[in-house]
Amino acid sequence: MREASEIKVNYLPVKTWYWLNMNDSKIKVQIEDKIDSPFQKHIKGNGVSFQIKDKISQWNAIETGMGPDMKFFDSKGIACIETEDTPNQTEQSIVLEYKAFAEKINTNHIFVHAQKGTKVAITMVLSSEEGEGIQALQTKIMAEENSQVKIFVVQMLGKKFKGLFDLGGICETNAQVELVKIELGAGELYAGALVDLVGENSRFDTQIGYLGREKQILDMNYVARHVGKKTESNMQVSGVLREQAAKLFRGTIDFKNGCAGAKGNEKEDVLLLGDDAINRTIPLILCQEEEVEGNHGATIGRLSEETLFYMGSRGIEKETAENLIARAKLDTIAVLIPEKDIQEKIRGWFANEGL
């Protein structure tokens, strides 16, 4: 086993005071032999292909949210999901279920290519064996004109696992990328996404839900880069922090010069249920264009006294009330996952965790 290397991920697009420790995050990893974690795939529809390729020509041109150091996890073989060139067909879907090996560095790479006028939905379920290990998953998306790409991610890694989930995308004219993610597991989670809205009227929507428990670390970096005119982005992040969980959310709306008519919205709400939980948030709006609308809002806090009183008056104790509200928050994301059996898996996970 080689000595540990330190990689830097989740760069804030514009630096701020160093004492905040939010400009980036450092992870120590032992970069040794990487393996692809096994997965099962289920494909619905005849209009999408799945192949493992050694090389993808557009791969390096797509930037990602976690940054260039993710190249440490490069491995042979990229799973290439490509829609057939038949516009206006019904939405194609693929489900990928990964199970990471313990005591290993599991790496997987996915390239999603949605051809003009096509639609594809990809659901990824990530779990692992018991024990320690790393799961690194990098997804890059090329959404051509008038295409729609939906990515649903359910992360249920073991408590001793380190998860690194990286995403990058380019949207052409009228293309849409939607990312729905629910983060439930992993002892340390690093997640980043960066989508370049290059084409006019392109769009990036994100909905993230997370539950931080015990001593979990959640470190996120989401960037919507508006390049084309009348582009739109919406980021909604909703989470619960319990016990001694620590979370850092970086969310950036970046309006580049020339993106007249663009709109970006970012909203975060955090329910703090642990006295020792640490919540850090840094929502950025960067603007080099006059004709735009950018908004962000964050609310961070506890269950209100009124809510607890109401619950108490119905015979529901504080801890039960907290579990109910936490579950409800995460359920609003879980119901967005299109596969009912996967929704059931999530509910099973909630039950196991006492929610």
Binding site: L20, N279, L286
Partner: protein, 472 residues
């Protein structure tokens, strides 16, 4: 309506002509440019520093050389400390009567409206010209209440020497950052204010800083202690003529707000566009105390300015109201910081910014709530108005919350004024032009309404809003 074809709102640039006059440099002492131990020793000697201050300066100089230049904000490449003259003494002593101030210096302050303001509406004035105070006076009735408003250097040798040594650069230690260390090494001028227990100073005190010398720096230090139950409004103003070489302002303000005391600290910053304004302001607020910051940033080529409040005692409160106007050639990085270090504390940050003609404005903030600061509340609101596509406006707010019993809210908005707002007013019978004027005036109103009338007028003189065509 095609957004590309609309006429845009035009906001006239700030009229600098009233500030952009230069006096001949008739200083009695002009130290060599640069920053060496020899220069710091000379300053200490010129000022007849007590030994502890001389050592303090030398230690700060050491720290200055160890610290790196910040790389997270606007570039200060154009600032070469080796070319800055850190001490320029004007050819006069400090006076308590405008009659005794040399004519050209007095005329400077007359043009800026300081003596008139003093007569009409101030309890006391300190006027600094380059590195020294040239005028300092406090009204008799205020002095009779036991209020001390003195130049800092005299106070260091008098009855309050011990108090000053106890407080000087303890809130902003030289190790805080490179320009705090620079300040510690070469500071000169500035004021000391002490308001005794229970005393309410009903009309404001003011300091005005004028930097006349080309290529010079101003490093004034303001130390204010408002004792238990007392209250004070302190106003700070500054300006300089424009030169084609860099000037530097690295001042420091330390404010101590006692138990149940209140301090409002208002600043209209209007340095010239060759100025590097690297200023540090910090307040510590005890139980039940209140600090209110009112800040208008209109000048400087580059600004780094983030007044910080430490809510040290239970129930302490902070309110920050600010406006930043970044025009051509300006990169203004401003904001606020607050640390909730005790239970039941609250803070509210409310800022506006306007960017035009290629100017860059950054709002940078941090809200920290410590583990023991239970039941605290914090809210941050930031609105930015971009008036053309060649300017820049960034919002970088950070929150670090370490207990589950506090409530924090944040909102930020960037863009142009909504056409719907204009339409709404027009549907109520208001003409389009009046509707536009109303909306844009309202945008800049948050700071001016918090200032005494004379300063609100000065601020409104700085921003003349000209509406043309549809809302941009």
């Amino acid at each position: 309506m095609d957004i590309n074809q609309k006429d845009k709102t035009y906001v006239e640039d700030i009229d600098r002509t009233i500030y952009d006059f230069k006096n001949e440099e008739k200083d009695s002492y002009h130290i060599k440019e640069g920053l060496t131990e020899e220069i710091v020793e000379k300053i200490a000697k010129e000022k007849n520093d007590p030994e502890w201050m001389r050592q303090f300066r030398l230690n700060a100089l050491k720290i200055y050389h160890e610290k790196r230049v910040p790389d997270w904000g606007p570039s200060i490449e154009g600032l070469n400390i080796d070319q800055i003259v850190t001490y320029v003494r004007p050819n006069t002593k400090m006076s308590a009567d405008w009659k005794d101030v040399p004519a050209d210096i007095k005329e400077t302050f007359e043009k800026l409206g300081i003596p008139q303001a003093e007569r009409k509406s101030l309890a006391g004035v300190g006027a600094q010209y380059d590195s020294e105070l040239v005028y300092h006076n406090v009204k008799e009735e205020v002095a009779a209440q036991g209020v001390i408003y003195s130049d800092l250097e005299s106070a260091m040798h008098g009855e309050y020497a011990g108090m000053i040594q106890e407080h000087f650069m303890k809130l902003v230690p030289p190790g805080d950052h490179k320009f705090a260390a620079l300040h510690g090494a070469v500071w000169s001028g500035g004021s000391f204010v002490y308001v005794p227990k229970g005393v309410e100073v009903s009309i404001p005190l003011q300091s005005y800083f004028r930097l006349n010398a080309k290529g010079a720096g101003q490093f004034e230090h303001t130390l204010i202690i408002v004792d238990e139950g007392a209250s004070l409004h302190f106003i700070e103003g500054c300006s300089a003529p424009k030169y084609n070489v860099a000037n530097l302002h690295a001042g420091c303000v330390e404010l101590y707000v006692g138990k149940n005391a209140k301090l409002r600290y208002s600043t209209i910053e209007n340095w010239s566009k060759n100025m590097y304004n690297l200023n540090t302001k910090r307040a510590q607020v005890e139980e039940g105390g209140v600090i209110e910051w009112v800040s208008g940033s209109f000048g400087s080529h580059v600004s780094y300015l983030y007044p910080m409040s430490i809510l040290h005692g239970e129930g302490a409160r902070m309110e920050f109201t600010g406006i930043t106007f970044a025009g051509k050639g300006q990169n203004l990085d401003t904001g606020a910081k607050v640390v909730h270090a005790a239970p039941n504390t609250s803070s509210y940050i409310n800022t506006k910014s306007i960017s035009k003609d290629g100017g860059g404005s950054t709002f940078r903030s941090s809200v920290t709530i410590a583990r023991n600061a239970k039941h605290s509340k914090a809210a941050v609101s930031c609105q930015s108005l971009m008036l053309d596509p060649i300017s820049r406006s960034d919002t970088i707010p950070a929150m670090d919350i370490r207990n589950s019993d506090s409530d924090v809210g944040h909102e930020a908005k960037i863009g142009r004024i909504s056409d719907k707002a204009v339409f709404y007013l027009m549907s109520r019978g208001i003409s389009e032009e009046d509707a536009k004027a109303m909306i844009v005036s309202g945008f800049a109103d948050n700071v001016s309404k918090e200032l005494p009338l004379e300063y609100a007028i000065e601020m409104n003189n700085l921003i003349r809003l000209e509406m043309k065509g549809s809302i941009g």
